[in-house]
Amino acid sequence: MRQFKDNLLRVLIWLSAFLSVAVLVMIVGFIFYKGIGLINFNFIFGDYSPDGGGGIWPMIVTTIYTVLISLVIATPIGILAAVYLQEYAKQGRLVRLIRFATESLTGIPSIIYGLFGAVFFVTTLKLGMSILAASLTLTIIVLPVIIRTTEEALKTVPRSYREGSLALGTTKLQTLYKVILPSSMPGILSGIILSVGRIVGESAAIFLTAGTVAAMPDGILSSARTLTVHAYLVTQESGDIELAAAVGIVLIVLILAINLSATYISKKFNKATNK
C-alpha cells in the first residue's frame, strides 16, 4: 500500500515538473515562433505607423523614460529609508509602522496603484495622462522593493565594520558612506536592477496613468505607451498576435539581460566578500 502511494506521488511529481516546464517552454517558444518574423532593424528602431509595418522605437523610448524617472526618484529615497530602518531607528512603534506600511505597499495590486495615480498624479496634481504621472506611480511601486533589498544588503555588512569605523572617532554618517554603503553596493545594485524588471513588466498602472498615445513622446508630460501596454493594445484592439509576440521578444530579451546582470553583480559580490 505504502509502496503504491509512494509510486503514485513520484509519478505526480514527475508529471507536474514535466507539465510546468512544458508550459513555460511553450510560452517562450510561442512568442519567439510568432514574433521572430517581424524582428528587424526597422521594427526596433523605426517610428511607429498606425497602418502597421512601422517600428516600436517610440515605445522603447517611453519605456526607457519611465525606468529612468522612477529610478532617479525611488533609488535615493529607498536607500535612505532603508538606511534609517537598519542603521538609525531604535526598534519601536515608529519602525513597526514604517515596516508595516512598506509591506502593505508590496501587497497592493498594480491596478490600485493605477487608480491612485490616475486620481492623484493625473488629476489632483494636474500632470495629465503622461510619462511623468506613470513614472511617479511606478516610483511608489518599486520603492518597497528597493527598501527591502537595500535593508537585506545592509544586514550583510558585518557589525565589526561599523564598530571598527566608529571606534576611530568617525561619525555614523562617515561610517555609512565610506564603509557601509560601499560594502553593500552590489546588493543594492541588484535590487535596483530587479526594480527595472518590475517597471518594464508593469502594465495596468501605466495603462491608467500614461495613456495609450502611440507616438514618439515630446517630453515627460506627453501621454505615451510603454512596450507592455503596446503588446496589450495590439492584442486587444486588432488581435495582432504576431506584433504582440514581436514586442514580447524585445521584452523577454530585456528581462533576460536585466536578470543576467543582477546575477552577475551578486556573484561578483559574493566573490569579493569571500576573499
Binding site: I13, S16, A17, I111, L115, F207, T228, G248, L251, L256
Partner: protein
C-alpha cells in the same frame, strides 16, 4: 562626591566636531523623512481610494448592499452592482490556486529533491527568468493558444471564459511558486533528510513527512506571492476573460473579474461611475487583505 574635573569638561566641543554633529543630526532627519515617505504614500493611497470609493455611499445615497450584491452593472442607467465580478474574482482565484499550487509545489519538490543537480541547474534559472516575464505576455499566449484550444475542444462560441482565466493565472503563478518553494525546500537542513532516511523511511515519505512540513513557512510565502500575482493581474485577464457581466455558472462562461472592470472602464468613466470603479478597487483591496489573513491563519494553524 564625583571626581573633580577641570574646566575642560565644560569646554565647547571642537569646531570641526560641532559641524559633524550638526550634519549627523540633519542627515538623520532626512533619512527619517525618506522612511516616513512610504507611510505617507500608503496613507495617501488608502485615503484617496477610500475617499473616492466611499463617496457614492456616504454622500450620494447609494446602497452599499446593492453595490455588493446587485447583479446589474449598467453605468448609463445608474445601476452599479458588482456581484458577478466578485464571484468571478473568487472563482478565478480559487481555480488558479487549485491548479497552480499543487503543480508548482510538486515541481519545486522535483527540482530540489529528485532532479539531478545538472537538470535542476538548467531548469531552475529558466523558471526564475519566467517569473520576471511581463504578465501581459501570458495573456497574449492565453488568447492565441488557450482560447482557441478551448473553443475547439468544447465547441464553444467564445473561448474567452472563466476556465481560460484560471489557466492563464495558474500558469502565471507557477514560476513564482516554484522558485520560492524550491528555495524554501533547499533550505531544510540535510540532517533532517538523513535522520528520516536512516530510520528506513522512503525518499517520498521523507519528502512529505519531514521536508515539506519543515519548509512550510517558505512554501506558504510562495503561495501568498503567487496568489498576489494572480489576484491583482489585470491586463492579461482582460485578454482571455470575455468580460461579460454575468454571474458565472459554468467554467466556460465569459466573466469579468474586479480588476478588469476597473481597467476597462477607467478610461472614459467620470462622476459617480468613476467613483464606483474606486469602490470596486476597495472591494478588491479588502478581498486581498482577507485572503492574506486567511492564509496567515492557515499557516499558523498548521504550525501548532
Amino acid at each position: 562626591m564625583s571626581i573633580p574635573t577641570t574646566n575642560k569638561q565644560a569646554e565647547e566641543i571642537g569646531k570641526a566636531n560641532k559641524r559633524k554633529y550638526m550634519l549627523e543630526r540633519a542627515s538623520q532627519r532626512v533619512f527619517l523623512l525618506c522612511a516616513l515617505l512610504s507611510v505617507i504614500t500608503l496613507l495617501l493611497i488608502i485615503g484617496f481610494v477610500f475617499y473616492k470609493g466611499a463617496h457614492p455611499f456616504v454622500a450620494e445615497g447609494y446602497s452599499f448592499i446593492d453595490f455588493i450584491f446587485g447583479s446589474d452593472w449598467v453605468p448609463s442607467e445608474d445601476k452599479f452592482g458588482i456581484f458577478p465580478m466578485i464571484v468571478a474574482s473568487i472563482y478565478a482565484t480559487i481555480g488558479a490556486l487549485i491548479i497552480g499550487v499543487p503543480i508548482g509545489l510538486f515541481t519545486a519538490i522535483f527540482l530540489a529533491e529528485i532532479a539531478s543537480e545538472r537538470l535542476a541547474k538548467i531548469i531552475s534559472p529558466a523558471v526564475q527568468l519566467l517569473a520576471g516575464i511581463p504578465s501581459v505576455l501570458y495573456g497574449v499566449f492565453g488568447l492565441a493558444i488557450i482560447v482557441p484550444f478551448l473553443q475547439d475542444t468544447f465547441g464553444l462560441v467564445k473561448g474567452q471564459s472563466l476556465i481560460a482565466v484560471i489557466l492563464v493565472l495558474a500558469i502565471m503563478m507557477l514560476p513564482t511558486i516554484v522558485t520560492v518553494a524550491e528555495t524554501a525546500i533547499r533550505a531544510v537542513p540535510q540532517t533532517y533528510r538523513e535522520g528520516s532516511l536512516a530510520l528506513g523511511v522512503s525518499q517520498i515519505g521523507t519528502i512529505f513527512k519531514v521536508i515539506v512540513p519543515a519548509a512550510k513557512s517558505g512554501i506558504m510565502t510562495a503561495i501568498v506571492l503567487g496568489l498576489g500575482r494572480a489576484i491583482g493581474e489585470t491586463m492579461a485577464v482582460i485578454l482571455v476573460a470575455g468580460n461579460s457581466l454575468i454571474v458565472p455558472t459554468s467554467l466556460t462562461d465569459s466573466v469579468r473579474p474586479l480588476t478588469t472592470n476597473i481597467a476597462l472602464e477607467m478610461g472614459y468613466a467620470f462622476g459617480t461611475h468613476q467613483e464606483m470603479l474606486f469602490a470596486t478597487g476597495i472591494v478588491l483591496f479588502s478581498f486581498i487583505l482577507i485572503l492574506n489573513f486567511v492564509l496567515a491563519k492557515i499557516s499558523a494553524k498548521g504550525g501548532s
